[in-house]
Symmetry: C2
Subunit: 254 residues, 2 copies
Amino acid sequence: MIKIVVIGSGNVAKHLVEALSQASSIELLQVFARQKSSVENWIASHKIISNFDQLADADVYIIAVSDAAIAEVSAQIPFEKKLVVHTSGTVAFTEIDPKNQRGVWYPLQTFSKNKNVDFSEIPFCLESEFAEDYPLLEKLTESLNATHYLINGEQRKALHLAAVFVNNFTNHLYQMGKEICDENLVPFEILKPLIAETSNKIKNLSPLEAQTGPAKRQDIATINRHLEMLSDENKKSIYQLLTQSIQKTNVKKL
Amino acid sequence: MIKIVVIGSGNVAKHLVEALSQASSIELLQVFARQKSSVENWIASHKIISNFDQLADADVYIIAVSDAAIAEVSAQIPFEKKLVVHTSGTVAFTEIDPKNQRGVWYPLQTFSKNKNVDFSEIPFCLESEFAEDYPLLEKLTESLNATHYLINGEQRKALHLAAVFVNNFTNHLYQMGKEICDENLVPFEILKPLIAETSNKIKNLSPLEAQTGPAKRQDIATINRHLEMLSDENKKSIYQLLTQSIQKTNVKKL
């Protein structure tokens, strides 16, 4: 059994605690939360602590707090030479207090408060200060049936940046699509199968192979008609910039 | 039985022919293709015609050709007062020759050459010049177990524009994510579960509710770090514009 303590009470902490509680090879000893009430729904109350002096002796301490709080929280752990990892995509493991053996256990996924997560679908990016700690991070990940990759700090930052493009920016394009539907009294529902298929295609085709549309086929008449339809200057700028970018990419790469 | 002729040999025609051939309430009489060889793999050769004089008497003629060819093709149909529809998202039904009764049967989906399509997942946008023809377009759609919506020409153009945002532009963001991965020797595979989940969220949350990331939470430090990491000016411009747009949208709407 791998003995675990989770420090944090946010979205990522919640989903990790739920998954770790159910893993047969994991013993979840404690959850640290400054306000006990914030985690009472996910874990038995005797396992909740809000004072670092109460921290139990564990194999891994998982710090799942906001990026800005990682350093401070790690400094308050009253142990030395323990394996302490954070779950952030952007923070270097060196932000963790050096009295412990440091690492990263970063689940690359978007977590929503009220939506269950299937951890077997989540890739974890692993990094450890000392090679001897790496196998334990692998085992921890495998206990959730999740996949893991050895990813160094620079690569992890790049992945986080790429994730902003494919997740945050993509979702904003859905928002623009919805606004165009709303303005024209068309149900956004109609676009949902297209949204699903667009992401589905990527499972088997490269984005370059999957690219379609007026920009890809240099259909200037349609592009100009679309630009005329867009009265909102912000949407017009985004349409122009992304159209130019597709045109350049496809000329360059094909 | 609804008697159908499909005119066209492209991607949309192919998928429609495959689906219509299997529908129990449809009799697919003929497929018109200028080059017989282009459609020989999808339909029995005695049903392929390449001369408009050979067109059989059908209930609906479906023109599934490029937007620019719709008017010319429709003029060559040697019948009058027949129901003739096109499958385009952007062309008005009035582009079809007025000697026939005109309409639109637009499947809002992205079709790939070598990927099967589940028509029960596809919304069709329907429009007919004469009200009397509308029920037949409904029946035609229902024969494929697909859903249908009454959508006028202006709405259809808006949907097509919205589709460029949620499909073509989204796919291009996947391409940028892949380029960032490639440059940092990280497998693009790692991002695929995130891409799937981002589109999946939209089934139950509005895009505004689903929005996350540094722009949404006004995390200026992360935004600046990302901008420093982007050496490619094109990606940097897209990052800035979409970040500003998310910031504006979320301030405005929440």
